[in-house]
């Protein structure tokens, strides 16, 4: 799980072009949206594509993303339970 969390931090910074944020700056329970990393709605769509492309998870309902993308912790838990690749 720790390796997956580290991987997610690196992927999110890379995929979402968060140039001014380092992996060390992201805590497992930090909010990804709002006051945390400050991600926006387009970032949310990009994360949905990332789940599909890298972990074989298709979100049938984008509204599910709200709970899944709360933090690195919640993302890692959901991915480890649902990944197909």
């Amino acid at each position: 799980m720790e390796a997956l969390k580290q991987e997610l931090k690196e992927k999110i910074i890379n995929v979402l072009n968060l140039e001014d944020i380092a992996v060390e700056d992201v805590n497992d329970n930090d909010a990804l949206f709002g006051d945390g990393l400050g991600l926006d709605s387009i970032d949310a769509l990009e994360l949905i594509v990332m789940l599909d492309k890298d972990y074989g998870i298709k979100l049938a309902d984008p509204k599910e993303g709200k709970a899944i993308f709360q933090s690195i912790e919640t993302m890692a838990k959901y991915i480890s339970e649902n990944r197909t690749k």
């Binding site: 072009n17 001014d20 599909d52």
Partner: protein, 217 residues
């Protein structure tokens, strides 16, 4: 043009307020010049590296810059040079008048690449949102809180006559206090931005000849 029409046109020109270019900049081939003076250079590098270095050099704190496509980054860097220091309270009545040759083709091609393989079909929403040229004006408007007129046109070549006339109409009809005119061309790492501010303040006369001269400088 008939004699009567010509007379009317000349009379109208004489009556109209004069407009002036108060500030201008160019970005091309890894160099940034403002009012003819070089303010930044980073040669022998890709646009991505150049833009990153130029952004850091400008000391503009705006992390969304890194999410923009190339056309928006180019436009933002040029506009930031000319608009920095202006009020951010929504009172800035500066219209945006932009144009280029390639529209958003640079990003359109990238997006098309991401959907061309049916076995690896993962269209990027973050790329898709930049598949219109006028998005770059939206980025500038958001950053500088401009709730003003904006239009993006596509031409076969730089068109100083259009810029001169359209800016004059915006100013003469009180649609704007200033007009930020921008030629922002980007395709496959070949780029040029030429941007200038026009207003009724003093400066260089906003004539077709002067615009062409500054574009070539």
């Amino acid at each position: 043009m008939g004699a009567a029409t010509q007379q009317w046109y000349l009379k109208k020109q004489a009556m109209a307020d004069k407009h002036f270019i108060t500030d201008y900049c160019t970005i091309e081939k890894g160099r940034i010049k403002r009012n003819g003076q070089e303010v930044f250079a980073a040669s022998d590098t890709s646009f991505a590296d150049f833009a990153k270095q130029a952004y850091k050099h400008a000391e503009t704190e705006y992390s969304k810059f890194f999410k923009m496509d190339n056309l928006s980054k180019l436009s933002f860097l040029a506009a930031d040079l000319l608009l920095k220091g202006q009020p951010l309270d929504g009172s800035n009545n500066t219209a945006l008048l932009f144009a280029n040759i390639s529209s958003s083709l640079d990003t359109d091609v990238k997006f098309n690449d991401s959907i061309s393989d049916k076995d690896n079909y993962f269209p990027s929403p973050a790329v898709f949102v930049y598949t219109l040229p006028n998005i770059c004006m939206g980025e500038i408007s958001i950053r500088y809180k401009l709730y003003t007129e904006n239009s993006f046109f596509i031409f076969e070549a730089f068109n100083p006559e259009f810029f001169a006339n359209y800016a004059a109409i915006l100013l003469d009809t009180s649609r704007a206090d200033k007009v930020l005119c921008g030629w922002v061309e980007f395709f496959k790492d070949d780029y040029k931005a030429f941007m200038y501010l026009v207003s009724k303040e003093s400066g260089t006369d906003n004539t077709i000849e002067n615009i062409q001269l500054l574009y070539n400088s």
